[in-house]
């Protein structure tokens, strides 16, 4: 278990990690994948793709049978340990990150989960994941501790020039609290009620973080299929709250939140005639541009909404 006092140890440990992009980063969130890899490379951090990875179980499988979701996530961790020989796996997607953490918790605390994982792993012909074999981290942990905040200051070139940013973490990065035992430990640990790792990194990159009270509020992802209008209203409220807080950009670290914000921003204009101008950009894209990487290098052109003109006007690119 990571403690508060092992910054140097974490720096060594996170230098080279197994990378679990998950399905979103190969689909709707290709720009998140691209910018994560580009930032890692620029910082000298190494990513080793998890061999033969599979879906984490996402929302769909969990809804049918949570034990199968636990197994699917455990297989990813097992591959990272046994195939890649890594002891840290980094998942930039909040859904994947959450599910791997949940699987770790369930295998450690629920006999039934452990039995199901053992049984299906045997049927599938691979080693069953054992509790504590790997540490799951988010891209935010990876950059904050794998490279270091002091060192990051040295890497900032043009910077974000006081860009006003609302940092939006969504619901799965911190919930439920019991699957994130390393959080809420004071000191350098992340807070589940007021997360700040993204704020910290973007402040180093020259952003002015605004007070944003909806940073962990629901983006409406849950309602997208069953009630799209409700999703649009929830997203619109987040966008309007960010603008009311003075933000020019909403920084994201979750592909579901990100695509929801972008698509419902367009839908809000079409369906509700509500226009918002706040830009939605992945934190890795902002960080990369602050370090001097070109917008194309961080995949800005692949986002749904066009922020190219905006970043040029702001002198960020």
């Amino acid at each position: 278990m990571t403690t508060l006092f092992d910054k140097e140890d974490r720096k060594k440990k996170y230098k080279k990690v197994a990378y679990y992009p998950g399905c979103a980063l190969e689909g709707t969130a290709q720009s998140y994948d691209k910018s994560t890899r580009a930032v890692g490379k620029a910082l000298g951090l190494e990513l080793v793709d998890v061999k033969n990875w599979n879906c984490c179980g996402a929302m769909e499988v969990k809804n049918i049978d949570p034990e199968i979701q636990t197994y699917l996530s455990s297989r990813v961790m097992s591959n990272a340990v046994n195939e890649n020989k890594q002891d840290v796996v980094m998942a930039p997607c909040n859904g994947c990150y959450h599910n791997l953490k949940k699987a770790e918790y369930d295998i450690s605390n629920k006999e039934k989960s452990k039995q199901v994982v053992e049984k299906i792993s045997a049927k599938a012909g691979h080693k069953a994941y054992q509790e504590g074999e790997i540490e799951t981290i988010h891209a935010l942990d990876w950059i904050k501790f794998g490279f270091g905040e002091e060192e990051l200051k040295e890497k900032i070139k043009g910077g974000l020039k006081g860009l006003k940013v609302a940092n939006y973490y969504g619901c799965m990065y911190t919930r439920p609290r019991h699957i994130f035992p390393e959080k809420d430990q004071g000191g350098d640990s992340e807070s589940t009620s007021k997360p700040h790792y993204m704020d910290d990194l973007l402040a180093i990159a020259g952003a002015e973080n605004v007070e944003f009270p909806l940073k962990t509020a629901c983006c409406g992802g849950a309602h997208t299929l069953s009630d799209s209008d409700m999703s649009t209203k929830l997203v619109l409220n987040i966008l309007e709250a960010a603008e009311a807080a003075g933000a020019e950009v909403i920084a994201t670290e979750c592909p579901t939140c990100h695509s929801g914000l972008e698509m419902h921003q367009i839908r809000a204009l079409k369906r509700l005639s509500k226009n918002t101008n706040v830009k939605v950009i992945y934190f890795t894209q902002l960080l990369g541009m602050a370090m001097g990487l070109s917008p194309r290098k961080v995949g800005l052109h692949a986002n749904v909404s066009d922020s190219m003109k905006f970043v040029k006007q702001k002198g960020i690119a």
Binding site: D65, V116, I120, C171, M172, R175, K194, S226, S231, K233
Partner: protein, 149 residues
């Protein structure tokens, strides 16, 4: 207690022209009412208790019992209390107008979130509120073994 639709409607229109302290109170009350709606829809009597001095926090905790996914609005309820405190403890503060705007949007989010969850619950549990819908499915039992299904 206003209905979910009435509460949504309250936030669609112009906000009442009242003193900041009273408006902050309106937002807090709206937050309590949406949580009352949730509890009543789940056949529970909304508590009159307070947690940390606020009924809304006790209601949110009560609403989460048996449905951990409801904790996804814990921080929203706490943000509403936080803004209520900021406004009522120093209504003359230069940022009161901005704080009221934020309190309004936080309260609105709570209403949309809970209202949305009530609708989704009507369609079957989904996503963050996931429950095993098909554990009696014979095919599933064959796949993972009846003892695990």
């Amino acid at each position: 207690m206003r209905t979910v639709a009435e509460l949504e409607g309250f936030f669609e229109g112009p906000q009442p022209d009242v003193a900041p302290v009273n408006l902050a109170d309106e937002y807090l009350r709206a937050g309590e009412e949406i949580l009352e709606n949730w509890l009543i829809a789940h056949d529970r009597e909304p508590t009159q208790d307070k947690k940390e001095g606020f009924r809304i926090l006790a209601l949110q905790r009560q609403g989460s019992k048996g449905d951990p996914s409801f904790n996804a609005c814990r921080e929203t309820a706490r943000e509403l209390v936080y803004h209520y405190n900021l406004i009522t403890l120093n209504p003359e503060h230069k940022e009161t107008e901005q704080r009221l705007k934020m309190a309004e949007m936080v309260a609105k989010h709570l209403i949309l979130f809970v209202g949305g969850k009530l609708q989704v619950a009507g369609l079957g549990e989904f996503c963050c509120s996931s429950k095993s819908l098909r554990l009696d499915n014979d095919e599933l039992k064959k796949t993972i073994g009846a003892e695990h299904a």
